[in-house]
Amino acid sequence: MNHGRTIEILVGAFMAAGFVALFFLSMKVSNLSASGTGSGYEIEARFDNIGSLKVRAPVTMAGVRIGRVSAINFDAQTFEAVVILRIESGYEDAIPDDTFAKIFTAGLLGEQYVGLDAGGSQNFLKEGDKISLTQSALVLEEIIGQFLFSKAEEGAARE
């Protein structure tokens, strides 16, 4: 085999190996197929307090990830957080309009995510619709504050 051809083959192998590595990184290490941003539809949920929810946090239903948080805004009129949820394509007509949206924390110190509890309605949410039933994030300081307050009340009642 001549020298020029060897170089061609080696360069070809090098490029192929590089692209295989890139493919591996996007398909196996991260999840390209599941993180498409352009597809699906968006719904809106309003919360009094979102805790430390971040853009791109998962949106799950029955523990299955069906989308991501695509934007978080603040509504100065109602003093609420407006969270836009992008639901991936394939989950059309899967979210009843009386669905309950909660902000959960994964594990004790984990990331926060949006969990959807399906309701019983036969009408489903479409692009741009709003979830009206929401529950805010649990903020650790508030829970501790409430706990201390109730303890103090107990103590006062006992005296």
Binding site: I7, F14, F19, A21, L25, K28, V29, N31
Partner: protein
Amino acid sequence: MTAPVKALMDQLARLGRSGVGVLEHLGRAHLLLLSILGGLGDLVRRPRLLLIQLFSVGVLSALIVAVSGTFVGMVLGLQGYYILSQFGAEQTLGVMVAASLVRELGPVVAALLFAGRAGSALTAEIGLMKATEQLSGLEMMAVDPIKRILTPRFAAGIISMPLLAAMFSALGVMGGYFVGVGLLGVDDGAFWSQMQAKIDTYDDVLNGVIKSLVFGLVCTWIALFQGYDADPTSVGVSRATTRTVVHSSLAVLGLDFILTALMFGE
């Protein structure tokens, strides 16, 4: 003028001179970059030149990058396991290994290896071509040495770098998998699923690729400029080669900080 004032003026003048020198140096480097970019159109008509440079810049750097990537991944797997298992979080080993590789270590370490392996070779080659009048010779043959010699090397560097970084990261993840799952008994499913859930294709993988493109450009540019600007003597070429490795490494680390702040900062 009294003597102390004169001494002060001398110092100021020296400072000014070195400042002007640095600016002049940077100016020459940018002019060279422009001329190199100007040759890209020509390169399309001579793909053969690019092929040969992809071989000497890319293929010849692949082995060291692959081996280093595997070992770095294995070390990450080991160290990560010891720390994470203290919190009972060894399930997230995959995330830790992949995130550090894809975001930082892949692009940065591959670029440092590239500067040492390919960058120094480029500088020495160009510097010696200058010292042995090969570049002048081309000019007198009415051939532009920048277009014919520098541009293909430049393009090859920019193309190779992201591929090398991707190989580094991918093999690193495999190395981490081998140590974590194969030797230390982390759950196979958890390793991959946690990783897939936390590593994002656009935020992490794509940003890593962008970083390595920038590093490839800067490392190759520095290497070519140092070679082209080298004193045409043996001492000059050896100094230029050293400068290539030092400047490229510093540039990669400094730029990495800036790029990270831009990409991952909120």
